[in-house]
Amino acid sequence: MSTTSVMGGIVRRKEDPSLIQGKGIYVDDKKLHGELAAVFVRSPFAAATITSIDASAARALEGVHAVYTAADVRHLGPTLAQVAVGTLRPLLADGVVKHVGEAVAMVVADDRYVAQDGADLVYVDYDPGQAVVDLKEAFSDAVKVHADQSNTLLTWNGNAWWEGVIDLPDPSPGIQESKLRDDAVVVSLEMINQRLIPTAIEPRAVIAHWSAGYGSVELWSSSQIPHAVAGAVATTFGIPSNKVRVIAPEVGGGFGVKLNVYPDEILTCFASRELERPVRWTETRREAAYSSIQGRGWIGTATITGTRDGTILGYELEAICDMGAYTHNFTVAIPLLGLFVASGQYDIPTSYKLHCVVTNTMTTDAYRGAGRPEAAYYLERIIDAFSRKIGMDPADVRKANFHPPEAFPVQTAIGLTMDTGNYAVNLDSLLERVGYEDLKAKRDAARSEGRLLGIGLSTYVEVCGFGPSGLAGLGFSWAGYGLPTAFNGSGVVRVQPDGTCTVTIGTGPSGQGHETTWAQIVSDGLGIPMENIEVQHGDSLDSPMGVGTFGSRSIAVDGTATFEATQRVKAKAALIAGHLLEAASEDILFADDGAHVAGSPDRAVSWGEIATAAYQPHTLPEGMEGGLEASAMFSPSNATWPFGSHMALVEVDPQTGDVDLLEYWATDDCGNVINPMIVDGQIHGGIAQGVAQALFEEAIYDSDGNFLTGTMIDYALPAAESLPMFQLDRTVTPTDVNPLGVKGIGEAGTIGSAQTVVNAVVDALAHLGVEHIDMPLRPKRVWQAIQDARG
């Protein structure tokens, strides 16, 4: 095993030995003595009144311990949400159902087979009503999803909610005046950014064990936010948060779907308390698709006003954003995240109006990128259309409108401040590597032979590393779960008495390799070998007060906290080593599992010797406290703003409409890089999800609200044969927001990629008269667009 630990080095992951041998422990692998299993009865209707529930046959079935309905759990209140705008989800449907898949009853039995038998014996009578699924229809308020409440929960238009928190910019800075200019070119497109299903391969799972004797509860949950879940459990049951332990062990992918508090997490705790047995629930794939959160779901119009020299005078975006029926964690705040990056890399007047509208569908919330892929999609698609309209190369139009490097820090259209950026260098680096001019010649040559090749380009800005404590008032906290903590980072570094090291962090990783990356940070600081460092996370009581893993925040915030804790341990260890070596602490250097005096490598002590002294205080300098550990909390002054440029080459089959993604290049900039292998892996997976949105995936409800994509066969996920190898490179523009200079990389690939592919397909077809095709660009849709363009 490689023990090279320097930051920026490639090391094999510490996580992997257990996972590649099938020895990792995910929630469904955990067994508790005496456990019972739960299964939910779910609504087949999108809008209905429940007229009766008859659970008598289910309750009479041997092996069934309980059947719960709203009457049993109503007193606990709804499922809590962080940004509680709209109607919160009842734990179990109470008299009405608002979407297909809504939980109506919970059956608890000896095992999952018997629980399913019991669920089949619960008879629910419904009186179906009219469902609202179409976004424009919902926006019209002709039919209400929730009686006596407008379907539009709020509109993000620069005058809402954050008033008094940040300075409000002009909501439409001179754009309408620009349109009146004689030389103005106005380009506008209505586009759909379709609903997606996050689809972590591990379905969500929970197992709750309420201990009557201790008055405490332990909940294992496949969650990205164990601390928030613990807060929700404590608040719901009215017990202190220190009586709730939520453990997120190995988590099999998140992408936002596990960044929520769900009814099952509360209901299994409730059932365990009532039945005095541990209670487990593991969702089926259909449940993962239609009763855990979905993402995206916007229809909007993007408009650019510019001039023929490529100058953009104004960018406008108005969209209706689908919230689904109930509000979850951040639901209405997801479009806000898009607004944070509405203008992308460009110094352009920007106006926006995003309507958050409810429908009779499953809730939407954060799915990888969360508002930012949507924002990048609309902006980068309309810039492409504008470039085509004025006959300029799309790369040149983009460059003509970049914020120059000397402009940073840059004030965004929404009033936030972008930290650092070097956009033209990044794009030029991509164009040079790709051989852009040759690629265009290749495309044109192919076209002259009747082949439909297209080149797509997109830039993007991400905003991540949440977050600044000052944003707590905007919803960036866990106050909704009774834990009013801002999105701080936290880390504890402890050198054990034998000289090994334990690092405990407040993140909730689901495959991001935190154990490896965090060990690199600590190893780099202390000179303790990677194999002697253990990184622990995902325990709401044993971890420091943490926030979880989402929004590409972990490294910039929690990584920094661990770095700071490492520095504190190092400072104390230098005093101890100096004492042991009879040298000044400032002359102590750490390397090779120990410390030595600068310039005298023979005057050295091992970490074991330093630690032994630390835990035997009589050997320490007089007055020094024993022990060798430090904790740190980091609240950044700002978010971080990664960026990048992506390019795709596609070929469209004119006979079938099939799109072949031939090549994909990405040049991303996430600031400093700690483990390039892990960073590249994040980009690979992110690109795959963006490409999948462009070409394959779509969560579909019919007009009655029936859910049509409940299996992995109906919901077209990319397989290995669907994708090419990805050709990556990076530029490095460190942030000044944290001492590591790191920005975050979890979502960048997704934010940059969907529109890159769509731009490429439209480029391949534009000469036929195709201006736009809505995603996903499946063969039938592309073929139809070709036919329509040809008339």
Partner: protein
């Protein structure tokens, strides 16, 4: 119903419900939780095991259908403490992130390489098309299988952390 099944070289016999899925028998009766359940339609492949040498989705096979067969799971591919080349490849080439699809992906890759020791990239992508991964975009999984193929052919893999660190 009485079944006799050999799993990773160990004989198991006993009474199982006719409706019991093989994956639940492996995970819950034999405590071999390395085989995962990612869907219920045989599509994701997280539950892939080798039944008499062939990759099978154990979530869509009944335990009684496996009566008399020899099964290999991810727990049975290493030779004692010596990782199987496919496992080594996934570690060396960052072929996993969350690790949930990995056991099934490893079993399909083992089956592929046992039938084709030198697959092209296209053959690798085709060979694992029954296994879905949401984390990696398959890029590093393909490289992992290439690494393992080289190793199984007795070559020194040019890919992976060790090779890159020494170059």
């Amino acid at each position: 119903m009485q079944v006799h099944i050999t799993v990773n070289g160990i004989d198991h016999g006993g009474d199982v419900e006719p409706r019991r899925l093989l994956v639940h028998y492996l995970r819950e009766d034999l405590d071999l939780t390395g085989t995962h359940v990612g869907c219920d339609t045989g599509y994701c492949g997280a539950c892939t095991v080798l039944v008499d040498g062939r990759p099978i989705k154990s979530c869509t096979m009944l335990t009684v259908q496996a009566d008399g067969s020899k099964i290999r799971t991810v727990e049975g591919v290493a030779d004692g403490n010596q990782l199987h080349p496919v496992q080594e490849g996934f570690w060396e080439c960052h072929g996993l992130q969350c690790g949930f699809c990995t056991p099934g992906m490893i079993m399909s890759s083992v089956a592929l390489l046992e039938s084709n020791s030198d697959p092209t990239e296209a053959e690798i992508r085709h060979g694992i098309e029954g296994n879905l991964c949401r984390c990696t975009g398959y890029h590093n999984i393909v490289r992992s299988v290439q690494y393992a193929g080289a190793k199984m052919r007795g070559e020194t893999p040019a890919l992976g952390v060790t090779a890159e660190a020494s170059s």
